[in-house]
Each structure stands twice: as structure tokens, then as C-alpha cells.
Symmetry: C2
Subunit: 402 residues, 2 copies
């Protein structure tokens, strides 16, 4: 077990929390790899979700949102890749409902306890015969197959398991996700799934998820595009046996920390595996007027095509960072900004600092790049993650369907 | 002379309006090409400007804004490329003032009638000895050299001359610009200059410029980045002899049309010459709730990296257009959107329309691509221009300084 810096929170090998089962199969939506899977909890779990803000919300995304918001409860999630079931009109809504119903029947649970998530090509009808076959093939196991079956252009699966003691009970939080950023309108989508055996009611879980997503998934950017199917959901089945967590529980801060660790890891994994990305970029902003502005500036820097291309080219061209800062509406001390790249200060009081910029440029060849900015306008901080802009990004997106 | 569709507005060969003089020279800021120039009007001209919204406004941009806003009058503009005089602190401000003063002395006019524009590398002090030499070399001529001397990574100069009859006098409007979009933080900047011999007072000119820029320069995007030095300015010296134009003048609509034609042409030229661009893209949005939303949606589509990469790859992947629309906050009939590319309808009522999409993909190999979107949410319209996202864009920006 790898100990983390936070006391009593441990990152462990992948395992499902108590009472969670899973499976994956090949339903024929993709050529060879598994393309369907499900998650199942032995007992109904508290549930929460956050959903894409794109106005063309896909049918499964709308259905899942309505399902979770009914009672903040879920017992299963059925997932497919290869087809997003998006922009398919009323046929899409019928098909999403049918997928939910087929999974519920097979699991012998209430349809209202099943979430549906789809990712893949937009605007092609969901092949329901294949979906039906796929669901009939799914069983209940400890398999990790679903973490592969949800992938599209991702280069690898993205998972994490964290354990902590809550109310003297061992609590497990396991998350996985897919997406090379919110950047795939076709093999669409960023999807995140978190399971835990902690006891916590649905409303509290929803608050925690919404807050934590703002600090993690919403602070990554690959190209600024938001899919019609983006969604992060969490299920907490209470089987760890702790007293239900509230904001007043002694161990609530530990749980929050563990939960945030899971989402941070998954968000970083997505940023670092952005389409065509060769480097993970982290931007830390300090000295901001408030936290929101710190987050805004961090995301503006990490999202600038010019900054991203400069990192790809290993060129410590700090004017691009200044320009990205200046484009925001955040409070900035126009004559007091500092910028460091990989720990070396390039800008002091908004003008060039004396530094060996060849050394800084050389350090941009690292697989991980950090940019630190002090706005000198307050004491708030914020962080965002992204990746570089490469030839491969253009190639992937220029020839996606061919 | 090429007649345009609007009666009495003609696009002609390049010529300066009556009373305008210009010159260009090599001051040594760039290796071989001309890198300085000026514009001069025989008499003080009404003047107006619009300036970058980037918080780190460069010293010459700030100085020019203050100069113009004093009385909406100018008699000359001094311009250099190769150095943006941006992020240089108080030294930058001193140098911009000195550049203004040197030009005024040489021209024997009031310093307060001289605008200054710089474009080039950020964060390096302006080499004042070279600037001084450059100004000493400038003369008054009918040369078009300044339209070349302002260029940085542009592949060609961008100019237009339009003539029309105003109050029975022949009025000339001549514009030129530089910039491969608002995308160069280093060899920075989009700069636009418009000269006319029409008579119109400064306040009216400022109103006209601000309104027209919103419809033209502000509707182009190459990569969404805004330089510290962006600026469009106009000088109107009244030497055509018309009665000063106001909104009540009989021929005001003709002048507005001619003026807009100049700015539209320059904006399109910049979009089509975007860094690495191989195609000019025009997006027309109809059926919008209001004009602002139409403009917002048009710009969101033309600015989406995914749409841009799809056009580069000649892949009629309409899900990307839908996704870009859905990301905006504009009113949209979620089930009633139409999308056409190069005149062929791909989406009807927000789902796939029957079309030969290979034919549409093939049409994306044209040098000009048009996308038409009907939001079905009103009667307003809007247009934006941009370019495709290419390997060359990444290459240029990854290795800019090397």
C-alpha cells in the first residue's frame, strides 16, 4: 500500500468497495473490444450526478439526471461505448428508456434505480438488437472490465482506489473514468464513475460531488469543447457500516479529502491523456482576489492554444502566459504579476526576470509541466490541469471518422 | 473598376485618399524587410480607435487610446513591427512617448496628433536607437510600403480601397491591416488602419467604428487569443469636400455601407490568412432570438477547435457543429435546428438529414467553406469568419522563437 501524505488515507490496488459488482462484454458496437458493461450494488445506494451543460444533452444523460434526481438513489449503471445516442430525437429517448428497462429486468430491480451512460458517435441510432444481446451476456463479478469497456480514443484505462477509516470502519472509494478531455463530439464524452461503501445520504452526496467536481473535473480542459454526454456520477451503498456521514461527522473532513483525491486523480488522468497530448500541464494561481478568479485564470492559461503549443514546442515564451492572464476579467495587479515555469521565475512585477530561459525551455521537455502565477491581487488560490497541443491532436480530429 | 452589388460603391485599385501620405523604411528591427512606416494627413483628421480588451494593454496601445480620446483627432500614425513594446513596464511607456515625439518633430506637428502602433516580440525593450534612425529615414510619399512594413507572420499584405459618392463628392476609403488573427502574443497582434477623405466629426466616427468593428473584426477568430496590442484606428480628413456626415445625412447609409465593406474585407483577409490556415470559413446563423445571440453562436462554431480540425480534414462531421451550438447560452429550439455545409443540408430538426455526406466532405476541400445554421428560435441573423486548424498552426506556434 502506498501511503499518502494525508494521515489515514491510502491509495491501494484497484478493488471494488464492499457490495459492488461489475461486468463487461462485447456487444458488437465496437469491432473487437468490449463495448458494454454495468455496475451493480447489492443494496440500493445513495447517488448523485453532475451533467454536461451542453444544450443538446444526450438522451441517456437526460434520463440519468431525471432518475437520480428523483430520490438520489441508484442500484445499477448500464454503460455502452461506440454510440452516444445523442441527436437522435424521440427515438433516442425511447432507446435509452429501453436500455434502462432491459438492465433492470435482468438484474430484477426497479427501473428507477438504473442509470444509463452512452459514449460514441453522435447522430446514429442506437443499435438496440446489439444492446439487448450485450445486456443478456452481462453477469455479476469482481471484474474490472467495465473500466476498459467505456473507453473510446483513450490510450489507457483510468482508475483509482482510496481507503480511509471513517467512524472506525474501513471505507473504500473507487473511481474510474473515460475521456481524452471533454473533446470528443463523436466518440464523445467525459464519463466518471465513483463507487463507495461509505454511508452518506443522497443530498449530502450531491453537495459533495458538485463542490468537488468544481475543483477537479471542471478545472481540466483539453480544447474547451463540451460533449453532449459528459457526466460524473457517484454511488454510496453504506455497506462499510459507518454512521451516515454529515457535515458534522468527526471524520467528514477525512472523507472529503479521500473523495477529492479520487476525483483529482481521475481529472489529472484525463488531462494527461488528452487527445494527442504528450505532456500533463498543471497551472497554480496564487494571489487572486478570490477563489473563483484564481480558478478562472488557471483554466484560461491551461486552455490557451498558444500556451499549449508553446509547451509542445518546449519554448519558454512567457508573453503567452501574460496574454492568457490579461484576457480574463480577474483582478490583476497589472504591474505586479509573477510567472514561474517548472519552478524557475520568468516574470517579476510584470516584466522579464533575469533567468536562463534556455534552461526553462529545456525543462519543458519533461512529461509534466507546472506553471505558477502570482496575480498579486489577493490571497486566494486555484489550480487547473490540461495538456499540450500537438500535431497528433490535429491529426486525430481531422481524420476522426476516416 | 469592379462594381459591387451596392449601387454607387466601387472597389478600386489601391490608392490613398486625398491628402494622405505614407512611407516605409528598414530600421533594423527585423533582419531585412521594412519594419517601420508612417501615415500622414495634410490636415488634422477626425480620428477614432478600438483597442484590445486584454488587461495587459501594451504601452503604444494605451498611449494611442489616450491620444485619440483627447479630441478624436490625429494627423499621423507611426508604426513599427518586430517589437511589440509590451510588458516592458515604465520603460515601455517612456519609449512609446519618445517614439510619438520623434515622429511629431520630424513632421513638425503637435505630438498630441500622433498615434503609435507596435507589433512584435513581447517583453523586450524597444531598441530606441533603431527607432530614431528609422524615423529620420521616413519621408512623405504615395508609397504603399507601410502595408508591408507592418506585417509579421502574415503571408501577404491586406488592403482595400473603396470609393463612393457622398454629397456629390467622390469619397475614398482605404484600409490595410496585419495579423493572422488575434493570435500572436509574440510577433503579436491584429492592427487595422482605415483612412478616408470623407468629412465626419470624431465622435460620429468613433460610433461608426465601434459598431462596425463589432460586426467585422470582432467576428473573426483564429484561436480565441487576444493580443496585448490589438487596435483598429480610422482617420477622416474631410478633404473630399462633402458636408460633414451625420446620421441624418442623405448619404450616410452609403458611407456606412462602404465603411463596413472595407472592414469586412480586412477581417476576412485576416481570418483566411490565420496562422497555418488553408481555408477561409464563414458561418451564417439565422433564426436567432436576437442579433447578439446570432453573433455569439456563429463565433462559437467558427472558433471550435473540433470544427476547425474537421474542416482541415474535410470530414463533414456535423455532430461537432451541434456540440458547438449547444455549448452557448443562446436560445435554441433543441428539436428544431438545421445545419448546412456548403449549401447541403446535413441536419434537420436536430437530427441527421438524408444527404450524401461524402459529397459534403468532398466539398470541404474547397478553399472557402460556408456553414449555415438555423436555430429556429427567432428571426435574427449573424456572421463570423475563421479558418481551419492545421498541422502548420501547431508548428508555427510550437517553434515560434526557434
Amino acid at each position: 500500500m502506498q501511503m499518502t501524505s494525508e494521515n489515514s488515507i491510502e491509495v491501494t490496488a484497484f478493488t471494488w468497495p464492499t457490495g459492488f459488482y461489475s461486468d463487461a462484454t462485447h456487444a458488437g458496437l465496437k469491432e473487437a473490444q468490449d463495448d458494454m458493461g454495468w455496475l451493480y450494488s447489492q443494496v440500493p445506494a445513495s447517488a448523485a450526478g453532475v451533467y454536461t451543460t451542453n444544450q443538446f444533452q444526450a438522451a441517456p444523460t437526460k434520463l440519468t439526471k431525471a432518475t437520480i434526481n428523483r430520490q438520489y438513489q441508484l442500484q445499477a449503471v448500464i454503460v455502452n461505448s461506440g454510440n452516444a445516442n445523442s441527436c437522435n430525437g424521440s427515438q433516442g429517448e425511447t432507446d435509452a428508456l429501453m436500455m434502462q428497462s432491459l438492465a433492470a429486468n435482468k438484474l430484477q430491480i426497479d427501473q428507477q434505480l438504473v442509470a444509463v451512460a452512452s459514449t460514441g458517435v453522435i447522430g446514429e441510432p442506437l443499435p438496440m438488437a446489439k444492446i439487448k444481446t450485450g445486456i443478456s451476456q452481462l453477469a455479476l463479478s469482481q471484474s474490472v472490465g467495465i473500466t476498459q469497456a467505456v473507453l473510446t480514443t483513450d490510450t489507457h484505462s483510468k482508475t483509482i482506489t482510496v481507503k480511509c477509516l471513517i467512524d472506525q470502519q474501513l471505507v473504500t472509494i473507487t473511481g474510474f473514468c473515460k475521456g481524452s478531455g471533454m473533446i470528443h463530439p463523436n466518440m464523445a464524452t467525459m464519463l466518471g464513475f465513483v463507487t463507495t461503501d461509505a454511508a452518506i445520504d443522497g443530498q449530502h452526496l450531491q453537495e459533495l460531488l458538485s463542490t468537488t467536481v468544481d475543483e477537479t473535473f471542471n478545472q481540466i480542459t483539453v480544447d474547451g469543447d463540451t460533449s453532449t454526454n459528459d457526466m460524473v456520477m457517484v454511488m454510496a451503498n453504506g455497506m462499510a457500516g459507518n454512521k451516515p456521514l454529515t457535515q458534522n461527522s468527526d471524520d467528514y473532513p477525512t472523507f472529503v479529502q479521500a473523495f477529492k483525491r479520487v476525483l483529482t486523480h481521475l481529472a489529472q488522468e484525463i488531462a494527461g491523456d488528452g487527445e494527442g497530448a504528450s505532456k500533463l500541464v498543471e497551472v497554480n494561481v496564487t494571489g487572486a482576489f478570490n477563489h473563483l478568479e484564481a480558478q478562472q485564470v488557471a483554466k484560461a492559461i491551461v486552455g490557451s492554444n498558444l500556451v499549449k503549443a508553446m509547451i509542445f514546442g518546449a519554448d519558454a515564451n512567457w508573453g503567452r502566459v501574460m496574454q492568457a492572464i490579461g484576457q480574463t476579467t480577474a483582478h490583476v495587479d497589472i504591474n505586479g504579476v509573477s510567472v514561474s515555469i517548472n519552478g524557475m521565475q520568468l516574470v517579476k512585477n510584470s516584466v522579464a526576470a533575469i533567468v536562463d530561459d534556455h534552461k526553462v525551455s529545456a525543462s519543458l521537455n519533461n512529461k509534466q509541466v507546472s506553471i505558477a502565477v502570482d496575480l498579486n491581487a489577493g490571497v486566494a488560490e486555484g489550480t487547473a490541469w490540461g495538456c499540450d497541443l500537438t500535431y497528433k491532436y490535429v491529426q486525430i480530429n481531422a481524420s476522426y471518422r476516416s
